[in-house]
Amino acid sequence: MRLPCPLCGARDHREFTYQGDATMLHRPAPDAGVDAWDSYLYLRDNPAGRLHELWYHDAGCGAWLVVERDTVTHKVFGARLAREARP
């Protein structure tokens, strides 16, 4: 598998560390309550299809990326820098 790093270009997946669903970008406020934190930390959808996920370009530029990928076909639709992907 190859991922299109916005800085380094397409690179082999061995250069990246996977972190899971990009939900992690949306950290609740400290007082958001137990349910919000539980959901943030532990509850994930498991779609057969498009998913936004976090990858860290460990062996490359050191950027955290949000990669949009189809979990069925493995097609990669694109990647953005995580710091620019937040709402």
């Binding site: 930390l41 076909t73 493995h74 937040r86």
Partner: protein, 982 residues
């Protein structure tokens, strides 16, 4: 037998080789298979299960029978396909799966017991007694049934892995592949062409057809030489593309030196990962055998293989042969045999009528239209006779020494199916063909796409080459296909010939038509279940010869259709890849780089025993004369530090330089405790949590300037912490203005610990190191023997301690000075063992204790999690489940006769039952403390902080050790810290 004057290789030159100890002679260009045929060796192996005598079936990588062991000793390579092994001078090959010899194989008795040994026999028979399976049945079965054996010795040969990149990867160098490559290359694309054979040309190498008025093989050579002359083309012969993977990545196995008598430094094989923008798959097709009784006799071969041996290698399995099949290839085969001087006793055309009368019915040889071969007889040495069942049902016997068979062709769809797509049934071709767009950016041309005439292959190659060019944004090329054979393909599928006797589908796994029927009868009706039940399609050939026929037989047995039955899943690799080729370069330092500390050379001179921490190689202890056990060295080193002074290389601790206007705010957010309040020139212990509230890492962080911090991390957690900091910054706090970078490698850092630490440093550091200037937990710039360095007054030993840092290039020299000076004061070097003992004595934590399942409160640092600010893990650290009834950090000391404490052992009440329900905790760190002259441990005990002074039982079920312990405070030595503060 050699067909004198025939074939395209030069048989006037000799190459000596040995097979089963017998000296033989072949010629340059021979494969082991063709050379054996030249030496009249018909019997080359014994079958997997029944030990049936077997000969060569094919001339390619799909060979199921002719598996031999090549080479001797540790380097012996089992299961080498004789059809792929090029002959070299001195080659030594052994047959496999026979004892005592290939001719007289004791286990051939299995064949007589065949009625009892059908599919599923093992599963049903060796059921009891249960214990017998592992100890008796399995070893016996494994010995009887098998392929070649590994030597058991470390492989001395060299293998390689490599990456390659191209615009267009062409898989297969036959007529379609050559045209695709030529078209793409002329259009300026960077092209790689792989072919698993030693020579490009595909079937053209083995056939007698003309292309553009010249022999096809000559035409292929012309194209290859044009390609070889182009800078943008890389020709990779002997390279089998083994798999299609995501993102245009392809695996390929290159036989680099397997054909050389002396490989020298060259790798035997290279495993390539080829990344291609486009791929043109021209993998050709595989010819199908026909299942009839005893169709596995030596001398019965695939028709295309017979033509290859006759036309290219100038050898034949026998002087008198018959041809049996279901396409016009049988006539082509018969003509080639006749032209080479082999007697063609019969052409048995199973089709009810040939489509092209004039072309195929030349009356050159006896043709039996609508007839089949229904049995074959012969011995170990080969075929003697075949039985025909004629169109009218009459049987007729024919004495022949060889039979060429052709059940039609199956496109090699494997590489189109590796990414999840399934091939599609084409009834006219009686074959599965690739589905459209099966793999992104891959197109299929030629026989692999079901185009079986040479002309169609050439044209499809050009088209595919141009498609690739257009997809790359380049212009299409006007390449004209030369004139070539363009006969229609007409097949009437024949999967098996009804009748008595065992008819083989899968030669390699000894699976017969009856076995597939048996699977269906026992309700293994899914093709995947049938495969597992019968083993059809497994092992080295992965059913290349047998898959289509086997599922057709299954479809018939279940009353289903072939497309409804479907294929099993095609998975990489297409051909067997030695594990050593996949793993090439990934042993020793290629597996894990060896990180060397600045003091490496001196530590080695001091005789240090090294241990690995992360990738770092660190001294474990420094044995001195007379010390025969690590504990002696460790105890001495601990006492040395506690009484005098010790030096330890701590360069390996992760060091992260953090700067910027928001550096302080960022640290307040990533650490549980507060760093914005830390004064310049001071150091603070920091606790880092994960977002779920558990401890991630700890370490000290120094404030070097108003906007400048230096964080340290645990050695093995440095990468994880860096990733975490990047995550928090980029993912959660991108508005914070700060930058950080690892400076672990920049600074060599040494701990100088012990009452005489100041004395060691006094002569080296220009600045005075008195209490006022350098109190506990202070830091600052110093001048070290003329060099700018940094000094930190911190201690992980509990003694007066400093860590001194200089740029790494001065590290070795500084360590020398420190050690020499320490030795003057009766001190010396200490290693990881002593460091560990001292920190356990002091109750300091490492990742043995903060192992990912403990909270700050668990380790007694709950107060550090500030509730005044938000930080990573703050919210979740205070959730209900983490606050009460926890296992808390305690110290432990043995109380009874058993003094040994063991990390990993569990804790139970002093008396009472020992069950998982009564488990109260466990030990995480244990040592012998020479300072306190007792074993010591750290561990977690339920509500342990309130239980100091209680007695508990430590139980190590693995070692059978039980010790009565007293629960103590984690800090066993110098609890008020006077020694390190003083």
């Amino acid at each position: 037998m050699i067909l004198t004057g025939k074939g395209r290789i030069d048989r006037s030159k000799d190459i000596g080789f040995r097979f089963d100890g017998r000296a033989m002679v072949g010629a340059p260009g021979d494969t082991l298979a063709s050379a054996l045929m030249a030496n009249d060796v018909c019997l080359v192996g014994r079958s997997f299960k029944y030990h049936r005598p077997r000969g060569v079936l094919t001339a390619g990588s799909e060979e199921p029978n002719a598996l031999v062991t090549v080479g001797q000793g540790a380097a012996a390579m089992p299961n080498t396909r004789a059809t792929m092994q090029e002959l070299y001078d001195g080659l030594v090959a052994q047959s496999q799966n026979r004892w005592p010899s290939l001719d007289w194989d004791v286990l051939a008795v299995n064949d007589l017991a065949a009625p009892f040994l059908g599919a599923g026999f093992y599963y049903k028979t060796f059921m009891w007694p249960r214990a017998f399976w592992e100890r008796v049945y399995e070893p016996v079965i494994r010995r009887a049934a098998g392929l070649g054996a590994l030597s058991g010795a470390p492989n001395p040969d060299r293998y390689e892995r490599a990456f390659a990149w191209c615009d267009v990867l062409v898989v297969g160098g036959g007529p379609s592949g050559l045209m695709a490559a030529l078209t793409a290359a002329r259009g300026g694309a960077d092209v790689i062409v792989c072919d698993e054979a030693a020579r490009f040309g595909g079937r053209l190498v083995y056939e007698t057809d003309n292309i553009g008025g010249q022999p096809g093989v000559d035409w292929a050579d012309c194209i290859v030489s044009e390609l070889a002359g182009m800078d943008n083309v890389r020709l990779m012969p002997r390279t089998a593309v083994t798999g299609s993977y995501d993102g245009g990545t392809y695996g390929a196995l290159e036989r680099v030196a397997l054909h050389r008598a002396d490989p020298g430094e060259a790798p035997l094989e290279c495993h390539w990962r080829i990344v291609a923008s486009r791929c043109v798959l021209c993998a050709g097709a595989l010819e199908r055998p026909i299942a009839f009784a005893n169709n596995d006799r030596p001398g019965i071969m695939m028709a295309s293989a017979v033509r290859a041996y006759v036309n290219h290698w100038g050898v034949a399995p026998a002087g008198s042969m018959a041809v049996f099949g279901a396409t016009d290839d049988i006539y082509r085969t018969a003509r080639d045999l006749r032209a080479a001087g082999v007697d063609v006793a019969a052409v048995i055309d199973s089709r009810t009528a040939p489509r092209d009368e004039g072309r195929t019915n030349a009356r050159e040889f006896p043709v039996y239209q609508g007839a089949v071969v229904c049995d074959a007889t012969g011995g170990r040495r080969g075929l003697r006779e075949i039985t025909l069942r004629l169109a009218d049902g009459q049987q007729e016997r024919l004495a022949v020494g060889g039979l060429a068979m052709n059940g039609g062709w199956s496109p090699s769809v494997h590489l189109t199916s590796h990414c999840g797509a399934r091939p599609i049934w084409n009834a006219e071709l009686a074959s599965f063909v690739p589905g459209a767009d099966a793999v992104p950016d891959q197109s299929v041309a030629g026989a692999a796409a079901g185009a079986f005439s040479t002309a169609a292959c050439l044209q499809q190659g050009i088209t595919a080459g141009n498609q690739a060019l257009l997809a790359l944004g380049r212009s299409a090329q006007a390449v004209t296909a030369p004139e070539a054979e363009d006969a229609p393909y007409y097949v009437q599928a024949i999967w098996s010939v009804p009748g008595k006797g065992r008819a083989w589908l899968d030669f390699q796994n000894d699976v017969t038509v009856k076995d597939v029927g048996q699977a269906a009868a026992e309700n293994f009706v899914s093709v995947e279940h049938m495969k597992r039940y019968t083993t059809q399609g497994m092992a080295t050939d992965q059913g290349k010869n047998s898959n289509t026929a086997a599922l057709a037989v299954l479809a018939e047995a279940t009353g289903g259709t072939i497309p409804g039955t479907g294929t099993t899943t095609f998975r990489p690799p297409y051909v067997p890849v030695p594990i050593v080729a996949y793993a090439a370069g990934a042993e020793g330092r290629g597996f894990a780089p060896e990180r060397r500390i600045p003091s490496f050379a001196r530590a080695r001179r001091e005789g240090a025993a090294l241990t690995e921490a992360g990738l770092w190689h660190r001294p474990s202890y420094f044995p001195q004369r007379g010390e025969t056990h690590w504990r002696q060295s460790c105890d001495r080193e601990v006492q040395m530090v506690r009484n005098s002074v010790g030096i330890c290389d701590v360069t390996t601790l992760g060091k992260i330089d953090i700067q910027g206007p928001d550096a302080a705010a960022f640290l307040d957010f990533v650490y549980a405790n507060t760093f914005s309040t830390l004064k310049e020139g001071r150091v603070r212990y920091g606790l880092m949590l994960r977002e779920d509230g558990f401890v991630m890492d700890d370490g000290t962080t120094a404030r070097l300037g108003p906007q400048h911090y230096l964080m340290t991390t645990t050695t093995a957690a440095a990468g994880q912490v860096m990733r975490h900091l990047e995550w928090v910054h980029q993912g959660l706090r991108p508005q914070m203005d700060l930058r950080f970078i690892s400076v672990t490698e920049q600074w060599a850092q040494f701990a100088v610990a012990g009452p005489r630490a100041r004395d060691v440093l006094a002569g080296l550091v220009k600045e005075p190191l008195d209490m006022q200037g350098w109190p506990f937990m202070s830091c600052g710039a110093v001048t070290v023997a003329g060099q700018a360095g940094r000094l930190f007054r911190i201690s992980f030993s509990g003694e007066l301690g400093f860590e001194i840092a200089v740029p790494a290039r001065f590290g070795a020299a500084l360590y020398d000075r420190l050690l020499d000076r320490a030795q003057d004061f009766g001190g010396g070097a200490y290693g990881m063992e002593a460091l560990n003992v001292m920190r356990i004595e002091k109750g300091f934590l490492t990742h043995a204790d903060i192992h990912g399942r403990v909270t700050a409160a668990d380790v007694g640092l709950g107060r550090m999690v500030s509730r005044k600010k938000d930080c990573i893990g703050q919210t979740m650290a205070h959730r209900p489940g983490l606050l009460e009834d926890r296992q808390e950090l305690v110290g432990l000391r043995p109380l009874g006769a058993v003094k040994q404490l063991i990390a990993g052992a569990h804790l139970f009440a002093a008396t009472g039952p020992v069950t998982p329900d009564t488990d109260q905790g466990y030990l995480t760190s244990a040592c012998y403390s020479p300072t306190l002259e007792t074993s010591l441990a750290l561990g977690f005990l339920r509500n342990g902080r309130a239980r100091h002074g209680e007695t508990v039982r430590m139980i190590d079920h693995l070692r059978g050790i039980e010790a009565i312990c007293t629960v103590t405070d984690p800090v066993a030595f110098d609890p008020d810290g006077g020694r390190m503060r003083g």
